[in-house]
């Protein structure tokens, strides 16, 4: 098979020692930022954007993909071992993982999370390998109006699902679209919203906005309400002895099915623009809770291993799924994917259906490095977990001061303009208020990337049809997409309701304990 040949060539590239080092660097940094509260892979990729000045595209994309995968692994360590009661409901793994750690089974929870992530990551990467060429073959025939339809779906789902409140998600999205308008219009070269300020002609850099929202905004927000006192990291084993109990035979038996189910829940959700990993972890958790029987079912809420294995697998599979629309259609559906697309653009590479044709070697080396990176991550996360626990204990003043320094570095190194650091601070303050008032920040970043692409396709579509608006719903593909959109919204309404129900159920046992 031709694709297998391409993949093998990709492996030949990615297995060169220097690329292995880049992959190792990526997954290492990725795990570290995944472990640290307050920073995630999107922000890290944004902060490391300066490496695109000196590294060649393949190396940079391998680093970024490693950070992306690594971030998914690292997050589980935090949610299992960090003892921050009451607020972890948003991170599904913490529901059971935290309880397992309290019961002295932290090592088993970490192991099932790491192995599950590996299994899911690998299977999902295989799916990506085979699915991507098929989608490209199909996408190559899509016209502008079809892309408009796809991006409408992306906008609506990202705005509606990436946060708790739909209207706030939409506001964040529109703000991103608005900022994306500033600068020179791609089609006619007219200036828009620049007010004659030279610095605005090139538009406001998306990296600046991402770093401002994620790094500075987060630092300001944490500064305002920082948790005082020591950081309570739980030990991996039992309190008395340090004989950390690893996964028992029973744990394996209870884990492998959730791993697989999580994979097949996570991957499809990652591929459709449904807001990435969060939805998939919740669905996987709900499925495991429902499927568990007998005494295992009773363990839910008190540290059931299925509740860690499933969601962790789902979240890694979703991460691979997100790469499908990114690499085949050029549509980012998460903030990290948006940053990776920005990195492509820095190299004058335009992701889209033609990417695999024009930059096939790069794409296949990237995919091959995902397989390798997954294996590295398994090794990094099983024996070296002690190292990550140490990172978790970094005193928070240094952590957030460091984040500020990195953010300022990222902003300044864009154009070496002091004004950029000033804009960074302004956007940081905006990010602070958005967090304060419950606006999700991720839709804004994705919209800044998607907005200009959307406008180009929309205008092209209308030009072809000579301004006939009905052209926007003229192809069978657009009918399918808009039809699916309606279905998705009906479904998501029920999912959200179920999620609310689950969260309220989840609180009850804790209340009983405190009495």
């Amino acid at each position: 098979m031709d694709n297998l040949n391409m993949l093998m060539e990709g492996f030949a590239t990615a297995a060169q020692p220097v690329y292995l080092l880049y992959a190792l660097f990526g997954v290492f940094i990725g795990t570290a930022v995944g472990v640290l509260p307050g920073i995630g892979p999107a922000m890290t990729v944004a902060l490391l954007m300066p490496i695109t000045y000196s590294l060649e595209p393949t190396a940079a994309m391998i680093v970024f993909a490693g950070i992306y995968y690594g971030g998914m692994y690292g997050g589980s360590t935090t949610s299992i071992l960090l003892n921050t009661p009451g607020e972890s409901a948003s991170i599904v793994t913490a529901l059971e993982g935290n309880k397992m750690a309290k019961a002295g089974r932290g090592a088993a929870a970490l192991a099932t999370a790491a192995i599950g992530s590996f299994v899911a990551g690998t299977i999902a990467t295989v799916l990506l390998t085979f699915l991507a060429p098929i989608i490209v073959d199909f996408a190559i025939n899509l016209g502008p109006v079809d892309f408009v339809a796809l991006m409408v779906v992306a906008f609506l789902t990202i705005g509606a699902l990436l946060g708790g409140s739909i209207i706030r998600g939409m506001a964040s999205l529109l703000l991103g679209l608005f900022i994306g308008l500033v600068g020179v219009d791609d089609t006619t070269a007219q200036q828009r919203y620049t007010f004659g300020i030279a610095g605005l002609t090139d538009g406001i850099d998306v990296v600046l906005v991402a770093v401002g929202l994620f790094a500075v905004g987060e630092a300001l927000y944490v500064a305002a309400r920082m948790r005082k006192g020591p950081i309570e990291v739980m030990s991996m084993g039992t309190e008395s002895g340090n004989s950390a109990k690893w996964m028992s035979k029973d744990d394996w038996k209870r884990s492998w099915k959730p791993w697989l189910r999580g994979t097949f829940i996570g991957f499809p959700i990652g591929t459709v623009p449904a807001g990435g990993a969060d939805v998939s972890t919740f669905l996987s958790y709900a499925a495991e809770r429902k499927l568990a029987k007998g005494k295992n079912k009773k363990q839910f809420g008190h540290g059931a291993i299925e509740g860690v294995a499933g969601p962790e697998a789902a979240n890694n599979a979703a991460a691979a799924g997100v790469l499908v629309p990114l690499l085949t259609l050029g549509i980012p559906t998460t903030a990290t994917a948006a940053m990776m697309l920005t990195a492509f653009q820095r190299y004058q590479i335009q992701p889209g259906p033609l990417l695999m044709e024009t930059n096939g070697a790069l794409v296949w080396a990237l995919i091959a490095s995902l397989y390798i990176g997954n294996l590295m991550l398994l090794i990094l996360n099983l024996p070296l977990v002690g190292l990550w626990v140490k990172i978790l204990q970094i005193p928070r003043p240094y952590l957030y001061a460091g984040i500020l320094v990195f953010g300022a570095l990222g902003a300044y190194s864009l154009n070496f303009a002091l004004m950029d650091v000033g804009i960074l601070l302004v956007i940081g303050v905006l990010g602070f208020f958005m967090r304060q008032y419950g606006y999700p920040v991720a839709p804004m970043v994705v919209a800044m990337i998607l907005g200009p692409m959307f406008e180009v396709q929309l205008r092209r579509g209308l030009q072809i049809s000579q301004n006939d608006r009905s052209a926007l719903v003229s192809t069978p593909f657009t009918w399918v997409v808009y039809g699916a959109l309606i279905l998705m919204f009906v479904a998501s309404f029920f999912i959200k309701r179920a999620q609310k129900k689950m969260e309220s159920v989840q609180l009850e046992p804790e209340l009983e304990e405190s009495k």
Binding site: L175, F178, L404
Partner: protein
């Protein structure tokens, strides 16, 4: 008292969206349209985005006035019970501004170290000398990695004049 204050803040923040929407609609009219342009032109999308911003902003204002407030974001390092500490935020913003002022006259490493030390102090790091030590080391390492190795042209500043390996 606390809730009314938060209420007011949310209304004001929602008004920002309305104001942006209005400004966007007004200034979209000033975008020049080339004569040869057919199809949508450069004004249409700004009109669409701005008017949607206006509508959503109005919805948010109404929600906030009715008392339907957003849930402040959770996080591992966030104390949900604590009230907003504006003084610390002010201190952090102040040190970012100091950083901007210092980059060109004093060089990036000095500006970065000052910002780190200031921010760590504002966030309650103790003892002070340790922040100073970490700040200086971090700034020099970053200058070496990004300026020296990756070739990002960060100004070294007069203090480190002559240290070629730090040069961007």
């Amino acid at each position: 008292m606390q809730t009314t204050q938060k209420n007011l803040g949310e209304v004001l923040f929602a008004l920002v969206f309305v104001v942006l929407g209005v400004a966007g609609v007004i200034f979209a009219g000033t975008i020049e349209v080339p004569d040869l342009e057919f199809g949508m032109g450069p004004r249409a999308f700004p009109y669409i985005v701005s008017s949607l911003l206006l509508v959503v902003g109005a919805g948010l204002v109404i929600q906030a006035l009715r008392g339907q407030l957003g849930d402040a974001e959770d996080g591992e390092d966030i104390d949900a019970e604590a009230s907003t500490d504006w003084i610390t935020i002010g201190k952090l913003a102040f040190f970012v501004i100091i950083h901007i002022v210092l980059i060109e006259p004093a060089g990036w490493p000095v500006a970065a170290a000052v910002m780190f030390i200031g921010a760590a102090w504002a966030l309650g790091a103790k003892p002070f000398w340790r922040s100073v030590l970490i700040g200086i080391i971090l700034a020099l390492v970053l200058q070496y990695l990004f300026g020296g190795l990756l070739g990002v042209s960060l100004p070294r500043g007069p203090l480190l004049e002559g240290l070629e390996f730090l040069n961007g």
